[in-house]
Every structure is written in C-alpha cells, then in structure tokens.
Symmetry: C2
Subunit: 358 residues, 2 copies
DNA sequence: CAGCCCGATCTAAGCGCATTGAGAGCCTTA
DNA sequence: TAAGGCTCTCAATGCGCTTAGATCGGGCTG
C-alpha cells in the first residue's frame, strides 16, 4: 500500500549512526561487528522495515541464491487450459477435477525440487511461457538463478548450450552425447523389463502392442519392449503411434484393430497419459479392460489410481528425481569445474487392475 | 561447466560496435533502434551467448518482474517428510504414494498461481523454510519480488506488515481488520450451509459433531455449522478439537464416544485432512462409514477421491484462488496507490459416498 | 543557405549492496 | 615510552543494467 520508497542500507546506516559497510556486515558476517553495534543496526533495520534487495545483493555477489525450474508450458500443454481460461465463470462453479491435468509427473518432480531447494537454503524460481516467447522466457529465468533444471524437450539445444556456459543446467532426460548438461533420469529399460516379465510370465500374454509418442524417453522403453519379446521368440508388432493430446489418432487405430479383429492381448503404453487415452477409447468402443484386452502405463501418476480399472504401471521416483537434480546442481555451483553428472534412478513395477490382476 | 566469465552488455556492445545503451534499447525498446543496428546487436548477443542479468536489471529498474509465493514449510508440515529424508534408500524403492501428502490444497492453489503468473509474463519465486529461519526466509524472498502471496498463518503479522510497506502482499485467508494485506478467500459460510442442508435435509441427521483445529478459517465454518443446527432447533455439541498431525488426540476422543455409545450421526470436519484422519480412526475402531456414522470434509483435495468410501466435501476453487491472487497483485503493482482488495470466491458441495450417498 | 526538427545513438549517472584495503583506537610487550 | 599487534569501522569501488539528457547528422522549410 504505502508507496514510501523502501529503506536501503543507507537509511539503516544513517539511523544506526554507522556506515553501510557495517550494516552489511551486521547481517552477513555478524562476528566482524561488535555486539552493541550489531544490535543497534538490527534495531534500526527493524524500525525502518528494512528488507534487503535481492537484486542489489545478487549483482554485488555475482550469485542470486536461487535455483530455477523451467516448466512445461501448461497453457498450451493442457488440453482444457484454454477453455478454462475463456470460461472463467464455469471454472468457478466446476473447478477442474480432472487428475489427468493435475498433478502430472511434472508436478511431483517439482515438489521434490522445492523441498530439496528449501532445505538447502535456495529459493526456487519457476518459469514457464508460451512457445512463441520460449527463448525469451527461458533466458529470462536463466538470468535470475545460479542453476537451472529443465524438463525434457522443452528447450532447443542451442539455447541450453548457451545457458550452460553461464550456469550449470540439468535436464531430466536420458543423457544426450556432449550436450554440456547434467542429467537425471530413470532406468527405463529395467522398468519395462519388470513389466514385461509380469505380462509375459504371470499373465502369459503373447500378442502385445506398444503405444507411444516417439521420442528419446519412449525409444528406450520401446527397445526394452522389443528385447523382451524377442527373448521369448515372440512377434514384434509395429508401434501404435499416438500424438500428444490427439486422442483421435489413437482411437482411430484402435477402432481399426477392433474392426479387423486383431486386438492384442495387451497395450503396453509408453506412459500413463497414453494409457489413459487408450483405456478411454476402449471403453467408448465397448471393449472391456482387462477382460478383453489389458493396458499398462509408465510413470505412476495419481490419475492412474483414480480410473477404473486402476492402472498397472511402472512408478518413477519423481520426488527423488527432483531432489537429486537439486543436489547435483548445488554441487556444481559450489565447484564450478566439476564434471557433468549423469544419474539414473531405479523404478518399481506397480501391479494394479488394468493388467488383469485384481 | 565453462567458467568463462559470462558476457555482459559491454561485451555485446563492443562486438556490435555500439554503446551499451543501444544494446539495452535493442532488447527493451526495439522501435528506438534502427533495424540494421538492432540486428547486429542481436547477432552479437547470440554469438557471445549473452544472457542478461536479472539482478542488474532489477536493480536498475526497481522491479524484478517476479511474483513470490511463500509456501508452507513442508519439511515440518508433512508428517513423513523427515523420515523420508532420513531413509533415502527407502524413498527410492517405495516413493511416497500417499495422496494425503501430495497434492494438498496448497499445491492446487500454487498451480493456479503459476499458470496466471506465466500468462502475465511474471516469473514465480517460491520460498519456504523452516520455522527457525522463518523471518529470514520470508524477507529473503520478499526482497526478490514485486508482489507476494502467502498462505494463512505462516508468517507473523509484524513481518507481513513490514513487507507490505515495500510491496503488495496478499494472504489467502479471511480478511483480518486493518492488516494492510490483500485477501482472497472462499465463502466458508455458504459452503457449510450447502453441506448442512444436504446432511439435515436429505439424510435427516440430527446429531452432528464438528471436528476441527481451531483457527480463523475453521471458526467461520463452525459458526455456519452451529447456525444451521440452531435454525432447525437442533442441539450443538462441543467441538471435537484435533491437532495438526496428531491423530492420537482425535482417535482418543472418538474412542471415548464409542465407549460411551454417544457416536453422532455425522462428523462434520473442518477440512478434508481432518476428515481423513477421522475416517481412518473409525475404520481402525471397526466402525463402518457411512453405515454407522457419516463423515464430511471441506476443501476437495485429491485424496478424498482415493479413499473408500469417497469423501463428501465442499470443494474450493483452488486454482482460481491462485489465479485471482495473481490478478490482484499485478493490478496492485501497476497502481501502487490502489485500495486493498478482499475477494471471496464461491464454493460447491461435492456429494460422494461418505455421507451415505452412493 | 541558414535554421529547425527529428530520429538514432551515445554519455553519464545512478540502482542497493558486498567487499577490499586502510585508518583509528586501544592493548601488549619490550 | 615507543613499537607492534589487535579489533572494529569506514571510504571507496564495482557488480551489469536502465534511462534521462546530450549529441550528432541529416532532411525540410522558408
């Protein structure tokens, strides 16, 4: 409210009858200042309502004391977001209760990043933005922090390269050769192998199809999928390619399979999001899951526990991924010449109903 | 990785053969610079990997372009957090699958804050910290932003007062007289009234007990609770006082009620968190919900949909609360002498199983 | 052709803090 | 008593950027 110019070190110094250096020391290096002096400085600061400017501090120290997380652009990413924004009134009365929109895995990772940052004394700067302003948005937040975490496939390589010359940058993705970034990811191959052992061994499925948006993450999962099939001498069907948000494509493919009577025993989806679309499509087509066909996912998002049947999946340790990322960045910040770190975390099979287990 | 000092406006200016002012203009006021000049500046910036320093910019402009959100201290707030941290290995294999810990309502509000901030071109600074360093932590983030959002009962009044003299501050709580803060809250009274109409009208309950940690929010809900009872001439039992995280207290009280055979028709809980504790306690005591006693909550968190029976509750428009908060702050930032805003948002009854509906 | 105006660019002065090197007292020690 | 060693404090400088005001060439007008 009050528009009074906010007090600075100068004001505090004057009121306490000392120099600004002493004020600064009183806060940052208490032992260098006599007790009585420090107290009078702190009193003056309190009386004036002094709040140190992080901008000035950051500029002077060459560090901001904050970490950055560049998030997906939910405004474009989430199918309903635009509609929700347009129809604000509707949102009031019928708030978004769709767990496919929140929390997604990004949110769980973010929670881990938050917790670990706070406990290490860093503030967290979260950025996001629409595609159009993407580069602007990311350099904007890069300029505010001492280290940056980014989600896979959100930022062009040349931009991350430029930023990583300034501060350490960690991407939550499979290591990419010589990209100058730290990496934290999960053991995709092992996860799929655990899953396939269950599907092939316990359920005895023989005909399985992989559903995926092709990218680096899903590629690793697909390789493990085909390897498991080949190891048992089973046939490998072509991938069912879906597209983000475009459930139309997936549903058309599934309808074709239905029409030709070539439905597999199980749809192995590259992630939970896909799996939920597939399940919805099957339900709409009157196909029973898991009686007529099984469905599995990968990630372990909350939505998978809310659908019926509940989703069998491979759970990623998302909070831990976030914490680990912070840990690596903090180390890199304190030791600027340390080598790039690439860490792979374990995953865990979560058997629920959609594979045919009860 | 590279420890090369990162380039500044000076470097860019030199390479482009212009003054630093021109570099600055090329970015912030493109129309003031001739096209050819601007291009050569941008080329130079790109070639050097220039990333503007937000600290310097913030200092020069007197604004940071970021909003702040001061979060609960989850490290102390969440019962399991400490254990999880200690046993990191366990967290890897058995990550936290408990929806009572995530997402809680705070997280949903945060999502709204994020989305609205991004779409308005603000970055979001998230702060948190342990109680010991609370004041330090909050002034730290206050020093980094142009406006601050805080959750109820997280920060002492004298601290918020001091900060609000510097930047606009909004608390997500019932307005408190003359505290110098903006407020966004929900219509607690209306929510409870909708709920009570359902419980008294549809279900015909006559004996209801209120379960609560007493504070400003729950007080408003309790008042509406007693008002509804009195309006129908029903008796008002004393509040069952619970304590955060201390399910022991609640369960002891409930056990007493059981022993004395004075179980009510329904436990009306001040929020979902309480309700989940009550349901768990009842289940442990072998009492069937909703057959022997009904339970209701308030908030509409995800966990309420995952328990069995699913939780009847009053849903707050959490994402909208976050968005609204940002909206108010952004206005306040652009018009420093505007009056304090207090906004109340509508809520909605969500009837599920725990009240006895199917 | 002098006088103006205007666009494009530059010069210079901070923004609020951290930090270095030096000064001012004061206490020890020889 | 002088010299040396402390402790506490200060003056001064720079961090990288924005921006008001000055400058400098044209192009126009009369």
């Amino acid at each position: 409210m009050s528009v009074a110019k906010s007090p600075t070190v100068y004001d505090v110094a004057e009121r306490a009858g000392v120099s600004i250096a002493t004020v600064s020391f009183a806060f940052s290096q208490p032992h260098r200042v006599k007790d009585s002096t420090r107290n009078s400085v702190l009193d003056a600061a309190r009386a004036l309502g002094y709040v140190p400017s992080a901008s000035a501090r950051g500029l002077a120290k060459g560090r901001t004391g904050a970490l950055g997380l560049f998030s997906f652009d939910f405004l474009n990413f989430l199918p309903d977001a635009e509609g929700m924004k347009k129809d604000r009134a509707a949102a009031v009365v019928a708030p978004n209760d769709d767990c496919r929109l929140f929390p997604v895995w990004v949110d769980e990772v973010q929670r881990g990043v938050e917790l670990e940052s706070f406990s290490r004394g860093y503030a967290l700067m979260i950025g996001g933005g629409n595609k159009a302003s993407s580069e602007r948005a990311v350099t904007d937040i890069a300029g505010r922090v001492d280290g940056l975490i980014i989600f896979p496939r959100t930022i062009p390589a040349d931009v991350t390269r430029r930023i990583s010359a300034r501060i350490p940058v960690l991407e939550l993705s499979e290591p990419s050769h010589n990209d100058g970034l730290h990496h934290v990811t999960v053991d995709n191959a092992d996860g799929v192998q655990q899953l396939m052992e269950h599907l092939l061994g316990v359920h005895g499925f023989r005909k399985l199809m992989f559903v995926s948006i092709p990218n680096v993450e899903t590629e690793a999962r697909y390789q493990a999928f085909t390897a498991a099939l080949r190891a048992r001498g089973l046939e490998v069907s072509p991938v069912v390619e879906s597209r983000p948000g475009a459930s139309g494509v997936t549903s058309e493919l599934i309808r074709n399979l239905l029409a030709s009577g070539t439905l597999p025993d199980c749809f192995v989806c590259a992630n939970d999001e896909e799996a939920l679309v597939v399940m919805e499509t099957l339900k709409a087509a009157g196909v029973s899951v898991p009686d007529q066909v099984a469905v599995t996912g990968f990630d372990g998002v909350v939505a998978g526990r809310l659908v019926s049947p509940t989703l069998t999946t491979v759970r990623q340790p998302m909070e831990l991924m976030g914490r680990t990322a912070v840990e690596i960045l903090v180390d890199a910040i304190s030791q600027p010449v340390s080598p790039l770190v690439e860490k792979q975390l374990p995953v865990r099979l979560v058997v629920r109903e959609s594979c045919g287990c009860s």
